[in-house]
Symmetry: C2
Subunit: 362 residues, 2 copies
C-alpha cells in the first residue's frame, strides 16, 4: 500500500526558515564565546536528539504498542520511516479526535499511553455524524449458536444447561470470513482460547520500501497457515464520511503521489438482499496493517470479520491463508472490481496480475 509520501515543505516555511537563519546571522556575531559555545553545543545536541528520534522511529512502527517492534527498512530513498497516527485498535472519529490525530508522541521515553476517543461515544461527539442505520441498523444480525465458545464460563453454561455467556449469541461462521470470539461481556480473560485476535501480534514482521510499490509488510519469520496476523485498525467511518473522504483522496492522488488507506469491506447476508458494510480509514490513523499491499491472486492473507461478544463493533482481522516464508511479502486482495481501468498501476507481480489496482464506487 502506497503510504502518503512525505510532503516537501511549502514555500513559505522555507522562507520562514531562511528568514530565521538570516536573523541568526545578525544575532550570532553579537554573542560572547561562552554564549556561542552554548548555542553550538545546544544545536549539536538537538540535532543529535532529532537524529536519534528518527532512528528510534525507524526501528519500530508500532511505538511499542505491539508485542514486537516492527522496523522499517528503506534502501530506496532518504525517508527512513512513514509517519502516521498509530492506533492498535479501531477508533471512531470525533471532532476532538480529528485534531488530536495530527500529533502523537513517538520517540524514546514514551509514556506509551494513548488517549483514544471513546469508542462508545455518542453520535453528537463525532465530527461526522455516525450513519448508524447504515452501520448498525438491522445488519448486525446475531444468530444463536448452540455450542457456545471455548471459555470456562461457556463450558460451565453448557454443563449447567443455562444460557448465560453472551458470546453464545454470536455466530461463528469462519468459512465466510466471519469469526466470533469472546469479548467484554464474557467472564473469561485474555488467555481464553477464543480470544485469538485479541492478544496482539505473535509473529515478527517488518515494513520494507519497494521502489515501485512503496512501503509493504513483510514476514520476518516463517508463518504457519491459519495464524492470526493482525487487525486492520483505523478510523471507523460511516459510508457517508467514507464517500466524502474517498473523493478528497482521489483528488489528492491525481495531483500527487498521495495514496489513501481506506478499506471498504462488504458482507453479504445470507438473505442475499442485505449487505453489511464497514469502512476503515487508516490513511491518517491506523496500525502497521495499513502497509499491506494488494495482490491480484489474493495474496497470502485472508480477511476475517471478528465479532467479540459484548463489543459494539466488529474488527477486520488478517489471518495467514497459506504458509508464509521469512522475507515474503504479506498481501491480500483489495477487491475484484476496477471501475477505473486506467487507475493506479499494480505491481503485485502475480501471474494473474490485472495491471491496475482495484477501484470501485465507494
Amino acid at each position: 500500500m502506497l503510504p502518503p509520501s512525505p510532503k516537501k515543505p511549502p514555500q513559505n516555511k522555507l522562507g520562514l526558515s531562511h528568514a530565521f537563519l538570516q536573523c541568526a546571522d545578525l544575532i550570532l556575531p553579537w554573542l560572547t564565546p561562552q554564549e556561542l559555545a552554548n548555542v553550538s553545543l545546544t544545536c549539536k545536541t538537538l540535532h543529535r536528539a532529532a537524529h536519534s528520534i528518527t532512528l528510534y522511529r525507524s526501528l519500530d512502527a508500532s511505538r511499542s504498542f505491539e508485542n514486537f517492534p516492527i522496523p522499517f527498512h528503506n534502501t530506496v530513498d532518504q525517508y527512513p520511516y512513514a509517519y502516521f497516527f498509530y492506533t492498535p485498535s479501531q477508533i471512531i472519529p470525533s471532532s476532538s479526535s480529528s485534531s488530536s490525530l495530527n500529533r502523537q508522541f513517538w520517540g524514546p521515553n514514551s509514556s506509551q499511553t494513548l488517549v483514544l476517543p471513546d469508542s462508545g461515544s455518542s453520535d453528537a461527539e463525532m465530527g461526522c455524524t455516525l450513519d448508524s442505520m447504515d452501520l448498525l441498523g438491522g445488519s448486525w444480525v446475531s444468530v444463536m449458536d448452540e455450542s457456545g465458545c471455548e471459555c470456562e464460563r461457556c463450558e460451565k453454561v453448557s454443563e449447567d444447561n443455562v444460557i448465560g455467556c453472551p458470546c453464545m449469541e454470536l455466530e461463528g461462521d469462519e468459512g465466510m470470513g466471519i469469526r466470533s470470539e469472546c469479548g467484554p461481556s464474557c467472564g473469561c480473560r485474555l488467555e481464553c482460547g477464543n480470544r485469538l485476535s485479541q492478544r496482539g501480534i505473535q509473529v515478527q514482521l517488518k515494513i520494507v520500501k519497494d521502489v515501485r510499490k512503496g512501503w509493504g509488510l513483510y514476514a520476518a519469520q516463517w508463518i504457519q497457515q491459519g495464524q492470526f496476523i493482525c487487525e486492520y485498525s483505523g478510523e471507523l467511518l460511516t459510508t457517508k464520511e467514507a464517500r466524502r473522504r474517498q473523493q478528497i483522496y482521489d483528488k489528492l492522488a491525481s495531483d500527487d503521489h498521495f495514496s489513501s488507506a481506506l478499506l471498504v469491506v462488504r458482507e453479504h447476508l445470507p438473505s442475499g438482499n442485505a449487505c453489511l458494510r464497514i469502512n476503515i480509514d487508516a490513511t491518517r490513523a491506523g496500525n502497521f496493517a495499513r502497509f499491506i499491499n494488494h495482490s491480484c491472486d489474493g495474496g497470502n492473507l485472508s480477511t476475517v470479520l471478528v465479532r467479540s461478544s459484548g463489543a459494539l463493533l466488529p474488527r477486520l482481522c488478517f489471518f495467514a491463508s497459506k504458509d508464509i516464508k521469512e522475507g515474503e511479502e504479506l498481501t491480500f486482495s483489495y477487491g475484484e472490481i476496477r471501475v477505473q481501468p486506467k487507475g493506479s498501476k499494480c505491481f503485485c507481480g502475480s501471474f494473474s496480475c490485472l495491471g491496475t489496482l482495484p477501484s470501485e464506487h465507494t
Copy 2:
C-alpha cells in the same frame, strides 16, 4: 600579557541547559518528520554558523578595524581566540559605554561601524567622574617649536612667516618618549608626514598563545627599528578609577587565572616636581596591543606618548626599538618596580629576567 581566561559556565547555566534539553526530549517526539527535519536542519545550520563565526574571529582579532587582519594562533588549548571589546583608539568610560562594552558585533558581514562613546563627552556623562585636575591640570605643557611640522600648511606658514598652524604649538621631544604630530586642528590630511601613528598598523602581526605566558603579540614580518607598531588603546581612566579597578583585578587574579591589562604611564615633567600620569585599561576594551607581553630586558618596543595638535588627550604608542625578525615576539618593559616580590611569575626568558612581573601601587 595573560588575557582573562575564558570562564567556565556557572552551574546554574549548565542546569538551565540541561533543563532545556530535557524539555527538548519531551517536545521533539511530538514533531512530525517534516518538523523534525526542520529542527535538525536549523540546528545543523546554526551549529555551522556558530563554528564559522569562531573561525572568522580567530582569523582577525581586529574585527577588520585595522589595515591587516591580526590572526590568532593557538596550539596550546581549545580556545581559538581571546574575546574582548575592540576599540582601535582610546575611549573614555561613561555609564552608557560601560554596559555597551559587554557586547560587540564580531562576525562576517559586520557593518564595521563602531559606536564609540564621544571622547569629548562632558564629565557628567561619565560613569566615573573625570579626575580632570589629575589628568590634565597643568601637566599638559605645550612648548612652542620654531620649526613647525612637515605639513603643507606649516610649510606655507614658514614661507609666509605667519603663525597659523596649531601644530606649531606642540613640543616634539622624541628622545623622551614624547612625540608631537599634526592633529585635528591642523589643515593637513592623513597623508601628512607628521601623522605617522595615525594611519593604523603598517606591519603584519599575529597573536600566538604560549603555554606559560598566554597570548602574546608576534611579528609576522621583518620590522625595521623605529617603525610605528600601534597605539595602546583602551579605556582612559582617572587615577581614582584606575586604583578602584586595580583592587578588583588584584582580587580576581588571586582567585583565578584572570589577568588585567591596566597600563599606567608616568611622565616626569622637566621641573622634576610634577608628574603626568595616564591610565589605560585594556582589560575589557582595547586593541591587539593588549596582548603585548613584558620583558625584563626592555624588549624590542619603546613606548612613546604621542600628542596630536588639537586633540584633547595624548595617545600611548609603540615603536620598534630595534630591528625585529619575522616570528619574534613583541615585548616592552611593564616597569621596574616590584612591590609584590612573590607576584605573578615572569616567563620573558631574557638574561636579565627578575622572575616576577612588575607590580606597583597604582
